[in-house]
């Protein structure tokens, strides 16, 4: 009989290696922690996400579900084994097709794909979908991953645009290669081997008071340190909007939501990893939680100073909506309810902190907002901001939740307390429990039009459950009234919102800040209004679409408005889809097809508040050009897009640019990756910096505006129609930061504050879009299959078509999840098998149409896109369900039982 293995030989990627882990240890842990093969990612430790897929004798398994003992004597292949002799064809195909966005699922995808390709070298789409069905991706919508797996034959050489030709070129992402080799380092990767491990003790109740027992005794018995709020030296309160900061890093005496941290356990990894924290000495006194936002106004206050549990209210009013509706030929009214939605990035929060030799606290963690992290962490820990450095790791998906602090102050506190590097990796349940969610919404609206189908007015009321702490609740409350009209001329308008505290999870930022919820109501009511007016839904929208020179509901005169162009781009497929659905339905009783439309608009950047970005470009004596790019790339592609804009503004080839950052010690502040602002705001700062550096070079060389720049070793050759000047960089004096030529420019989009009626100029740049969903509804089961989505998005100027399409496809996947399957229930769906996000088999064929209506303010005409793509998807699907069956869905997700009930209510079931 086998005895417990203490030393065994493992065959990994063709090599024999000795391991000393216990036989029951997860293979993922052995690979990552003992063998330091950290290309294999861990997303759930439950076989739900497939990120840890490796091959055992050629067959795909989840390494997190495989005990070491069962891997002995078998050939293990990890992502590191795919590129032993340069990139494999599959990896090349992933790069070529833009299949990796954030990259966290990429190793798992590559391994699952390798398994099927070994058996089926040219898989069909369906075979590829089935083979990859066990690996979740939250960024891409799978389209480009499947494209790559079905097209591994060598393709054309990657584009290498010459000077001036980068913007608009479908160049491969500049940070793509490490994502496909497994070399990319995310929050859980790359910590020092001797780092202490930090784990949090969290509240099991929605509302409770608590008291600690014998912490010192418990800690001493286990050889660990315990840290609590009493150890926090600064102000134990953080929040993304400083006036509303209300969340303790570690709770003091009271917890306000399930999953809130009350204590840290810090010690050697081998000790802490296996500790049973259910025995931690804390006594809970659960209270009656406030869970219903509708009743929260009358419930006990969750925060002192916020009567009625009201966090904040938002309001936009113009014209006289009530009177306009009273005088309208047609008025529709309705209500929509949405639930908590989890970001479900495949990378749970992770990072490590260490004390640099100069005493600076350095935090390496996944984040969307390094400078905000620095300032808030410094405040909590009682340090000056200059003593905290944030070095963002690669981010395995964020979508808004990684804007807020999570583990940064916790690992910082542990590092300060112990003087040792300290590491923390949230498990899936911890990530889902303790981080922010999309706001649940209860929305009502009335919308009217005249006999000719011209909009007359709209009233909108929104109640948002903002959960236990403020987070981005104020942003949601303020952004929604500005957007709830949709991109239409709305002459009379009243939209009011409230963000209400409960003891539910903290609701924060999630791709769209409440606008997707509002669009569900507005766009589904538009279909009913079009029907009442006897107009085709597309014609109705086109008739009322905002045009250049129109004023928005905030009174802003709009420029560069592309919504009509988006709708027009959908028209051919729209007519065909409606006709095809009718023909199909004539011959089908149980399964019914339908086609539905929805639009979006979205202002880029903060709502009527400053949000500058600063970009630095410098050239060294050696002739190296560096772009200090402080915008965190969470997969959306800012590392590439900002570089493309800078290259063209400066007039150099994209390949001449080296990237630095983001890193609060090395990059100026580019703000947060949120609000679809990086291409617009940081992109514009990059264009300004590029132009400024170019001007400095031309002045020094005394050459004209049309001059071409060329690096030649340590020399910069500047040639115009008159001749050429060679700048010998080695002889130039250093200006600053080690550069002999330098430009640093800041851009803050011009906005104006909103008055009490929400009138003003909330955003400088908007993006627009419209989507057409075609669905099939099983009227006996209530299941919905989205067959096809045609998405037209006005991005102003396409900087990188591959990345832009990736944003659209990924946004649609999240919109589809919101529409059909996603709802987070505290205590019930704290994992990725009860909380469902779309798999390969749930995604439709997507056709993306990129519309270019230049924005007069955006960089080279560009607009933002990241959030826009999600907004129309859910209402388009709901409108398509209604077209197919008559069923009006007012509660999402449209789970099968809800759809079936609505179908039967519509009297259209078989």
């Amino acid at each position: 009989m086998n005895r417990p293995e203490t030393l065994a030989t493992l065959r990994v990627n063709g090599a024999e290696v000795r391991v000393s882990s216990p036989p029951g240890r997860r293979l993922s842990e052995v690979l990552r922690e003992e063998l330091r093969l950290q290309g294999t990612k861990v997303g759930c430790d439950a076989g739900d996400c497939g990120a840890c897929t490796v091959l055992l004798d050629g067959a795909p398994v989840c390494a997190c579900l495989t005990p070491l003992a069962q891997a002995l004597g078998r050939a293990i292949t990890t992502v590191e084994g795919l590129s032993a002799e340069g990139l494999s064809r599959l990896q090349e195909a992933f790069l070529r097709h833009g299949a990796a966005q954030c990259g966290i699922c990429t190793p798992g995808m590559l391994m699952a794909a390798s398994a099927v390709l070994a058996v089926t070298p040219r898989p069909t789409r369906a075979e590829a979908e089935a083979a990859l069905g066990g690996v979740l991706c939250r960024c891409t919508g799978y389209a480009r991953i499947l494209d790559a797996v079905c097209d591994v034959a060598p393709g054309p050489e990657p584009l290498r645009p010459v000077a001036g030709a980068a913007v608009g070129a479908a160049v491969e992402r500049l940070d793509g290669r490490p994502k496909v080799t497994g070399a990319e380092r995310f929050g859980a990767d790359g910590a020092p081997v001797d780092a202490l491990l930090v784990r949090a003790v969290r509240a099991p109740h929605a509302a409770a008071r608590f008291a600690f027992g014998d912490l010192a005794g418990w800690a001493a018995a286990r050889g660990v340190r315990v840290l609590t709020a009493a150890d926090i030296q600064g102000e134990n309160r953080f929040g993304v909007i400083p006036p509303f900061a209300d969340q303790p890093a570690l709770a003091e005496a009271e917890t306000r939501f399930r999953g809130e941290a009350v204590a840290l356990v810090v010690g050697e990894a081998a000790t802490v990893a296996g500790l049973d924290l259910s025995a931690f000495p804390v006594v809970w006194h659960p209270g009656a939680p406030v869970t219903d936002p509708a009743g929260a106004a009358a419930a006990r206050p969750i925060h002192a100073g916020r009567p009625g549990n009201l966090l904040t209210a938002g309001r936009v009013v113009t014209g006289g909506a009530a009177a306009a509706l009273a005088a309208s030929a047609h008025v529709v009214e309705g209500a929509v309810e949405t639930g908590f939605v989890e970001h479900a990035y495949i990378e749970p929060e992770a990072g490590w902190a260490e004390i640099a030799p100069d005493g600076t606290l350095v935090i390496h963690a996944c984040t969307q907002a390094p400078v905000m992290d620095r300032d808030d962490t410094a405040r909590v820990l009682g340090l000056p901001p200059a003593r905290v450095r944030i070095v963002p790791t690669a981010v395995g998906g964020g979508f808004g939740s990684k804007l807020d602090l999570s583990l940064q102050p916790l690992i910082g506190l542990a590092a300060l307390a112990t003087g040792r590097p300290c590491r923390m990796v949230y498990d899936r349940a911890e990530s889902m429990m303790s981080t922010t969610k999309r706001h649940p919404a209860r929305l009502t609206a009335r919308i009217g039009c005249d006999a000719g189908g011209w909009l007359t007015g709209m009233e909108f009321d929104g109640l948002f459950d903002t959960g236990a702490y403020a987070s981005w609740g104020p942003t949601v409350a303020n952004r929604v009234p500005v957007h709830a009209s949709g991109p239409y001329r709305m002459p009379a308008y009243r939209a009011e919102t409230r963000a209400i505290h409960t003891n539910n999870p903290v609701a924060g930022a999630f791709r769209g800040f409440g606008v997707p919820q509002a669009a569900i109501l507005q766009e589904t009511l538009f279909d009913r209004l079009a029907e009442a007016a006897g107009l085709d839904p597309l014609d109705f929208r086109l008739r009322n679409a905002l045009r250049d020179g129109d004023r928005s509901v905030c009174g802003q005169e709009m420029r560069g408005v592309g919504i009509a162009q988006c709708l027009t781009a959908l028209a051919p497929r729209w007519r065909a889809a409606r006709a095809e659905a009718a023909a199909f339905n004539a011959g089908s009783t149980v399964v019914k097809r339908g086609a539905g439309l929805a639009s979006c608009w979205y202002g880029c950047g903060n709502t009527a508040l400053p949000n500058p970005s600063t970009v630095r470009l410098g050239i060294t004596r050696e002739g190296r050009l560096w772009l200090h790019q402080g915008a965190t790339d969470i997969g959306q592609g800012s590392n590439t897009v900002i570089a493309q804009l800078a290259a063209d503004a400066l007039g150099v080839a994209l390949g001449d640019i080296g990237l630095i950052g983001p890193d609060t010690a090395l990059t100026p502040d580019c703000g947060k990756t949120s609000a679809s602002r990086q291409t617009v705001v940081t992109g514009k700062a990059a264009v300004l910096a590029g132009r400024a550096l170019r001007a400095a070079i031309l002045a020094r060389a005394n050459r004209g505006d049309d001059a071409a720049l060329r690096f030649d070793g340590g020399r910069l050759v500047v040639r115009d129609g008159q001749g050429e000047t060679v700048l010998d960089l080695g002889t130039l004096p250093e200006i600053a930061h080690g550069y002999v030529l330098l430009a640093e420019e800041t851009y803050d989009p011009p906005t104006a504050p909103l008055d009490a009626d929400g009138q003003g100029r909330p955003y400088a740049v908007y993006g627009y879009g419209a989507q057409l969903a075609e669905v099939e509804v099983d009227t006996e089961l209530g299941t919905v299959r989205v067959i096809r989505i045609t998405a037209a998005h006005d991005v102003g100027r396409v900087v990188n078509p591959t990345l832009a399409e990736g944003q659209v496809q990924g946004g649609i996947a999240q919109g589809l999840g919101l529409a059909l399957m996603e709802e987070y229930l505290p205590g019930r769906t704290e994992n990725l098998h009860d909380y469902l996000i779309p798999t390969t088999g749930d995604m439709p064929e997507i056709e993306t149409i990129l519309v270019e209506v230049p924005d007069p303010e955006g960089p080279m005409g560009a607009k933002g896109l990241g959030e826009h793509a999600l907004i129309p998807t859910a209402p388009a699907i709901l409108n398509a369900i209604a077209h197919a069956t008559g069923a009006r869905i007012t509660r999402v997700p449209a789970l099968p039982h809800r759809v079936l009930a609505a179908v039967r209510a519509a009297g259209r079931g078989p």
């Binding site: 417990p4 036989p23 990893a273 089961l781």
Partner: protein, 283 residues
């Protein structure tokens, strides 16, 4: 340190099990998700190295499927059409990764009400083989599954194989699963059906539904309603809503309310039956 045992013979395994204090591990696709932390804790008896527990054997009496046979092996196995439902379920369990590791025995011992294998074994009249140092016994799957996460397995017993009698391999099987997404999904409801059609009529019908009761259930009244009938397009209608509702006891949960489950089970059963009739018509 708690032992991790991985014996090569059944005798060693049963001896160890008799000593107590061990959890049985096979594909670990249920065990690890229930484990927080970097590895399995407590005493473990890993049965995946035992010769003879894996693979499919056929004899005059029927088929013996070893407990540690993986779902991937079932999906690939050369089994008669009566097993087509089981083979379809094998491709729906979790993901490809889970099918590679997950075992048929573990799926039954784990006893999830939503175990995809359970209704398929029921329509195959399957029995489990339970071995202990005291001896070996066989038990119908319906008697083995006693409740959610509960079985008739004694602490010192190992589920070593699943037996399908020769007669139950007859006819044609089908399996339909309903979930809120395509892959990697826990069933809201599922139906397994096996019809043996002779001379155009139903000679034998076996119907079972999963995820709609504490354990998967056969529907004897529905089977009786089909027996002897002509296997044509109208056959499925003989399964009535009343028969199905009386046979099941679904719960309300976040996946679906009970009433929906009952209705879905009816639809799935009818579709599976209609599908088999239509297939036969084409053949």
């Amino acid at each position: 340190m708690a032992p991790y045992l991985r014996p090569r013979t059944l005798a060693e395994a049963l001896e160890a099990l008799a000593g107590g204090g061990l959890r049985v591990a096979a594909g670990c696709t249920d065990l690890f998700p229930a484990t927080r932390g970097p590895g399995l804790s407590g005493g473990i008896l890993d049965i995946t190295a035992i010769e003879g527990l894996r693979g499919i054997g056929e004899s005059a009496a029927g088929w013996r499927i070893g407990a540690t046979t993986s779902w991937a092996e079932i999906a690939r196995a050369g089994l008669p059409p009566g097993f087509d439902g089981l083979r379809a379920a094998a491709r729906e369990v979790g993901s490809v990764q889970v099918q590679t590791a997950g075992t048929v025995g573990g799926n039954l011992v784990n006893a999830s009400p939503a175990a995809d294998g359970a209704p398929c074994w029921l329509v195959l009249d399957a029995e489990v083989e339970l071995a202990s140092h005291r001896g070996t016994r066989r038990l119908a799957v319906a008697d083995f599954l006693t409740g959610p996460r509960q079985t008739a397995r004694a602490a010192d017993e190992l589920l070593t194989a699943i037996h399908v009698p020769r007669a139950a391999g007859a006819g044609q099987g089908a399996f339909l699963k309903l979930g809120a997404r395509r892959y990697l999904v826990i069933s809201i409801a599922m139906a397994a059906v096996r019809l043996d059609i002779q001379a155009g009529r139903v000679a034998h019908a076996a119907l079972a539904v999963g995820a709609c009761s504490a354990t998967a259930r056969r529907l004897p009244d529905a089977e009786a309603a089909l027996r002897g009938r002509r296997a044509d397009a109208g056959l499925a209608d003989a399964i009535t809503a009343g028969i199905v509702a009386r046979a099941l006891a679904p719960i309300d949960d976040h996946r679906a309310p009970a009433a929906y489950r009952t209705r879905a089970a009816l639809t799935l059963l009818r579709r599976a039956v209609a599908g088999l009739c239509a297939e036969r018509a084409v053949a």
